[in-house]
Subunit: 210 residues, 4 copies
DNA sequence: GGATAATCGAGACGGTACGTCAAGTCTTCTT
DNA sequence: AAGAAGACTTGACGTACCGTCTCGATTATCC
C-alpha cells in the first residue's frame, strides 16, 4: 500500500495513497458482487480484504453506503450509450435492452443493494439518483425531445413522465423479481408504451400499418 | 401480557398469548414508521417496546423480516379496492390514485422499508410479492381481461406487462423519489400508458375524439 | 462456559454464570502476572483468554481496573496474618518480612500495576485502600494499641502515623525500586523505627541493654 | 514556531527550533496537571496543544514517558533546598514540610502521574529516580552523615534506610491518600522517626529532657 | 386435584461489527 | 536538514444487537 503515490495538489503532508483508495473500492466491489449483497458488506471486511486499516476507510467515506456507491458508480457509469437509428422507438428499445443486460449481471446485484439501502439512507438514494439515474435521464430527455420535434412523439406528455413510463416497469421487475427481465418483456413493454394499451379502431390500424 | 388468551387447539400447556403477538406487531409497525426504516428495526427493540421477552418474538417469527412483513400486511391488506365505473381507464386511474395515497402516507414509509430490506433479504421480498403485490395484481388482471373481452383494451399485450406498465412508474417514483407522486403525474401516466407515446395521425385524432 | 450455574437469588432471567466470572478473573490474573503488567492487560485479551464474550466482561466490571482489582484482591487478601510472639517489635518485623515476600513475588507485579493505575483512577486507588491496605491496618492498629496498653509502645504517637512510619519505607522501595526489599533492610528499618534515629546517651544505652 | 532559532553547531540544515521544544514541554506540563494524569497524556494531544507536528515530538523523545519526565524535571528540580539551623531534626522537619507543600500543589499531580506511570514503564521510574529522587537523597545523605559525625545521629543505621524511614511515610500518604499530608503529620512523623516508637524508660526521659 | 406441558417475562451467554481514538511510521512541502 | 502537516497500518476501546440459553412464574389440559 506504500507504493504508488501520485501528487494531486501542493499541500503539505503525506499525500493520499491512491492505491489504498483503489484497493478499498475493489474490495467493496468484490464483496458486493458476492452472495449476500449489502448484508455481507462490512467496513471491517472491506478494510481487511483491501489490506488497509479501518481508519483509512472511515477517513474518506462516512459509512459503507458511500463506499458502496462510489465503488459502483466509478466503475459503471461510463457505460451509458444510446444508439441513433433514426427511429425513437428502436433507439429506446435497444437502450432498454442494454440496461436489462446490466441489471441482470453482477452489477445488478450491487445496484439492487444500493437501491435497497437507499430506502433507509437518504444519502445513498441521493447518490443513486444523481450518479446513476440522472445522467441517463439527461440523455433520455434529449432523445425524446428530439423525437417531439420531428413529430415522432406526441408533445403533450411531460418528458419525465415518458421516461418513467418506459423505465419504471423495468425497475419494478428488477426489484420485485416477480417476472423475468427478458427481451420479450422489453419488446412488449415498448409496444405498449409507444402505442398504448387501448384497442385500436380500424382507422388507427390502417394508419399504423404502412 | 397475561390476560387475553384464546384457545386455538386442544393441546396441553399454556396457550399462546395473543396479546403478546399483537403487542409485537404493533411495536414493529411503530418502529417501521419511524425515520430509519428497516435499519432501525431490531429484534431487541421490538421486544422492549412490546414489553415482551426476546424469546417470545423468536418463538413465533424466525427473523425480523417475517415480523416486519406480518406487521405490515395484517394491517394494510384489506384496503385494496377497485371501482367499477364502466371505463377501464377511469377505474385504473382511480385505483392508482388511491395507491399513491397509501404510498405517500405513513404506511408508505413501512412499505418502502420492506421493499428496501427485501433487496438484501429474499424472504422479505417474497413476502412483499405474495402478500402485497400479487393480491392486487390478481384483481388487476381480472379487470384488464374483462376490458380485453369488451374490446376496450388491445388483446396482444400480456396482462402482466400491462400491469407493469401501469404500476412500474409509480413504484419508481416511490422508491427513487426523483419526482412527486401527485395526481397530475397519475393523469399523465395513464394518458401515456393507455394512448401511447407516439404522435397521433390525423385519422387517429379523429377516431379518439368522439 | 455453559455448565455450572449456581442460584444466587430469586430473580427472573438466566442466572449469572459463575464459571464465566471465574474464568475472567483467572485470565486477568494470568495476564497481569506476565511481562507487561497493567500495560498488557486489555479487555479484549481478557475476554479471549477467558473464552468469554467481551460483553460479559463489561457487564460485570466497568473497566479493566476493576477487573484487575477484583482478580487480585479475591486471591490475595486472605493471606494477612500477624504472629503473636509477645514482643511487638518481633511481631511487626516478621509481618513486614512476610509482606516483603509478597511484594517481591508475582503478586507484587500486580499490586504495583494497581497502585500505578490508581494514580490516574480514583476507583482503583479506592479499591487498593479498602481491599488491601485497610484490612491490614485494622490488624496493625489492634496490635499497636495493645502494645501501648502493655507499655511497650509510647502512647503519644497516633497509631496511623506509626503504621505509616513502619510501612511507608517498604512501599517506597517497592514502588521506586531504588534499593532492594531484603531482610537486612527490614531489620534496619525496624531498628530505626522502634528506637529512633537519634544517638543514644550513655544512660539510654544502659537502660536498653538489659 | 518559526521564530527563535539558536545556532548550536555549525552543521548543515535548518537548526533545531527551540521554541518547539519549549512548546512541547509546556503542553505536556499542562496536560499532566489536569485531571486524568498520565492516562490523559497522548503524543497526539501534546503535538496538537503545542502546535507542532507529531514527528517533531518523536524526533526528540522516544516516548511519552520521556517527554513527561523532562517536562516535569526541567521545571521542578531547582527548588530543592535544605535549611541549616544547626539541628538535624529541625532541618529535616522543615525540608519535609517543604516537600509536602510541593506534593500537595499542582506539581504534585504531575509527580503522581509520573510515579503512577512509572509502575508500568521502567524508563519513567528510572527518570523519576535519577532526576527527582537521587538529587534529593544526595543532599539528604550529606546532611545525615554530618549529623553522624557531630554525634547527633546514631551511626549504626544505613543512611539510605534512614532516608527511607523519613520520606517513605510521606510518599505513602501521597500515593495512597488514606490520610492527609499536613503539618501535624510531619511533626508526629519526625518525632517518631527520630525518637522511636518504643516507650521511654524514666532514665531516657530524664536524659532527653535537658 | 395434582401432574404435565406450553408459554411467558427476564436477562445472561458467546459473538460480530460498529465507529472512534491513539500509537508510531512514513512521505511530502516549506523554511 | 529541521519542521509542519497529515496519510498510513495497527490494535484496543466501549456499544449495540445478534440468536441461544436458562431460569421462575403462569396457565392451561389430562389423568
Amino acid at each position: 500500500m506504500e507504493k504508488k503515490l501520485e501528487k494531486v495538489e501542493n499541500r503539505p503532508g503525506r499525500p493520499r495513497c491512491l492505491d489504498a483508495r483503489r484497493a478499498i473500492l475493489d474490495a467493496t466491489w468484490q464483496i458486493l458482487s458476492g452472495e449476500g449483497g449489502f448484508a455481507d458488506l462490512t467496513m471491517e471486511g472491506i478494510a481487511e480484504r483491501a489490506g488497509v486499516g479501518k481508519t483509512t476507510v472511515y477517513r474518506w467515506w462516512p459509512n459503507k453506503a458511500s463506499v458502496a456507491a462510489e465503488a459502483f458508480f466509478t466503475r459503471i457509469e461510463p457505460k451509458v450509450r444510446f444508439r441513433d437509428t433514426g427511429s425513437l422507438r428502436e433507439d429506446i428499445r435497444l437502450q432498454i435492452k442494454e440496461l436489462c443486460k446490466v441489471l441482470t449481471s453482477r452489477s445488478g446485484r450491487v445496484l439492487r443493494a444500493l437501491l435497497g439501502g437507499g430506502q433507509s439512507d437518504p444519502e445513498l438514494i441521493d447518490a443513486f439518483r444523481s450518479q446513476w439515474m440522472e445522467p441517463r435521464r439527461v440523455k433520455g430527455r434529449e432523445i425524446l425531445s428530439k423525437a417531439v420535434l420531428t413529430g415522432e412523439m406526441r408533445s403533450d406528455i411531460d418528458l419525465d413522465v415518458a421516461l418513467d413510463a418506459l423505465y419504471g416497469p423495468i425497475y419494478l421487475r428488477f426489484l420485485v423479481k416477480h417476472l423475468p427481465l427478458d427481451n420479450s418483456f422489453v419488446d412488449q413493454l415498448c409496444d405498449s408504451a409507444f402505442e398504448g394499451l387501448l384497442a385500436k379502431t380500424p382507422a388507427q390500424r390502417r394508419s399504423r400499418a404502412h
